[in-house]
Symmetry: C2
Subunit: 302 residues, 2 copies
């Protein structure tokens, strides 16, 4: 099955202690789509400006991403600039120009309406809801959000969560949305808001998944160098949902394997600036690291 994603496409200017990338292709929908494209065909709903270059279109198309839902509008593509601290869990936003993204309204091409697997990347929950309104029979809906919407659009977000199956957020967002510091209590509150599963991303400490009956925790893949964490969370979601859409296996075991695939893709993304590593990584490398991941976590390994 294909996976449909709605979200942002941005040009990112990124500084870390290891260097700088200027106007690199980025945005949550982009990272998600490219990550998911290693597993299954992807349909993308987003908006770019007149400055969006043909080589980026060619790259996305070349990855098997269907761009029928990518609106090209007059004006400029959104642009973000940020600087990471030495502790890469901390970053400062230096610039945020929404540009054509400011009045983005997702409109799904007729060819997308049969979508079964859907991911609502981090945008205004009203726009996320608009996507669901255009889908007659979605099967599995995943969703991300951020602090801005949790504090500013809580009621719209809560309405949306009642329609979502899998919530994928980071630990800080989980605390803010639930009002609970403890991760178990936070997850319990979030499950009560509607999603059947809550996946909490903990950066270098990995991911923990909660459902009514089970908890599953995986570490992040230990890396000697993290050059740039930009897009790691969105790539995790892309690998996770992409593998789910590919396998169609939404059992506990299927979810767990998909979480590991998401973790594997995210571990590649941070090895280079922006999405450079996603331009070179192969499915073989992904499968190899998946096996390393199993060895990393296997209590009965020999």
């Amino acid at each position: 099955m294909s996976i449909l994603v709605v979200g942002s496409v941005f040009f990112d200017t990124i500084e870390t202690q290891y260097g700088r990338a200027e106007r690199a292709l980025g945005g949550a929908a982009t990272y998600f789509a490219v990550a998911a494209s290693f597993f299954t065909p992807v349909r993308m709903v987003a908006a770019v400006g007149e400055d969006f270059p043909p080589e980026d279109i060619a790259f996305l198309s070349g990855r098997g991403i269907d761009l029928a839902g990518l609106q090209r509008r007059s004006g400029l593509t959104g642009a973000w600039a940020g600087r990471y601290h030495e502790d890469m869990n901390q970053r400062d936003t230096l610039q945020l120009d929404l540009n054509v993204f400011a009045d983005f309204r997702p409109q799904l091409p007729a060819s997308y309406r049969d979508a079964q697997y859907v991911f609502l990347a981090n945008i205004d929950p009203r726009l996320q809801a608009m996507v669901l309104d255009q889908l007659p029979a979605p099967g599995l809906i995943g969703c991300d959000t951020m602090n801005h919407w949790i504090t500013g659009s809580r009621s719209e977000l809560e309405q949306l969560l009642s329609r979502v199956h899998v919530l994928v957020i980071n630990d800080e967002e989980a605390r803010l949305l639930s009002g609970e510091r403890n991760v178990v209590r936070a997850a319990r509150r979030l499950l009560a808001m509607g999603p059947r599963r809550v996946l909490i991303k903990r950066g270098e400490y990995g991911v923990i998944q909660f459902s009514a009956n089970a908890v599953f925790a995986v570490p992040a893949f230990p890396l000697e160098e993290v050059f740039d964490p930009t897009g790691a969370g969105d790539s995790f979601a892309g690998g996770f949902m992409g593998e789910l859409a590919r396998s169609g296996d939404t059992s506990e075991a299927g979810l767990r394997r998909a979480i590991v695939y998401g973790s594997v893709v995210a571990s590649f993304v941070v090895e280079d600036f922006g999405m450079n590593r996603l331009r070179t990584v192969t499915k073989d490398e992904i499968e190899h690291r998946y096996r390393q991941f199993v060895a990393l976590t296997d209590i009965d390994a020999t």
Copy 2:
């Protein structure tokens, strides 16, 4: 096989957001010994004062801990008081009276000299070395330390590390000792100092073990309430080394299972103040949670 531990015995006065414990039995050697006693006989080398009450002696003896190496000296038992922040990874020390511990010199009874499994809990590395000097043929030596010795007694600590097989420290100490922020690079540096294995404790995020050939990461057991984190690290070490001494299995698989047992014991300790939970927990409860731990981390769980 039995396990020998040297370290501190203190009375702890602890404040967390959930309450307060006054002069509770504590200290690294105590937590280690009680945790290890669920797996194997324990021998303890430490010092207490005239104020150390018969009921605490009875408790330790009742747990099968050999107290031939426990010096009772004139003066008072060491006393510590601390207050945890709402974020329980942070705490302030309000009081630290070393008392009889100030001039503690470990002296091993003749009956301890055949010790095979040894743990040097956090004390002055000169004292840790003194213990090794009194052991003709130790088999497996584990060691902990803290910031105070890393900055104040680095050369003594480095000498000690060249004699140690397993280093068990927390992430902050690993960074300080190695000079590396990244956990993989930190562990590589620490392995180069002598230990064959380095276990880095990451609090609520679990433990990661490094050796020359393998990495193993486990999450902490997810708990809804953490009442008091005091002693969690020492109890982890006690469960880990106690299970290793019991099984005698120092293969990769044996080490991994021991790490999970250590994590299980630590997860019980934090459920109540001081070592209250270690007074009530049963081996059955430990085995039950071990199985839950396996389910928590098993990628192919059904």
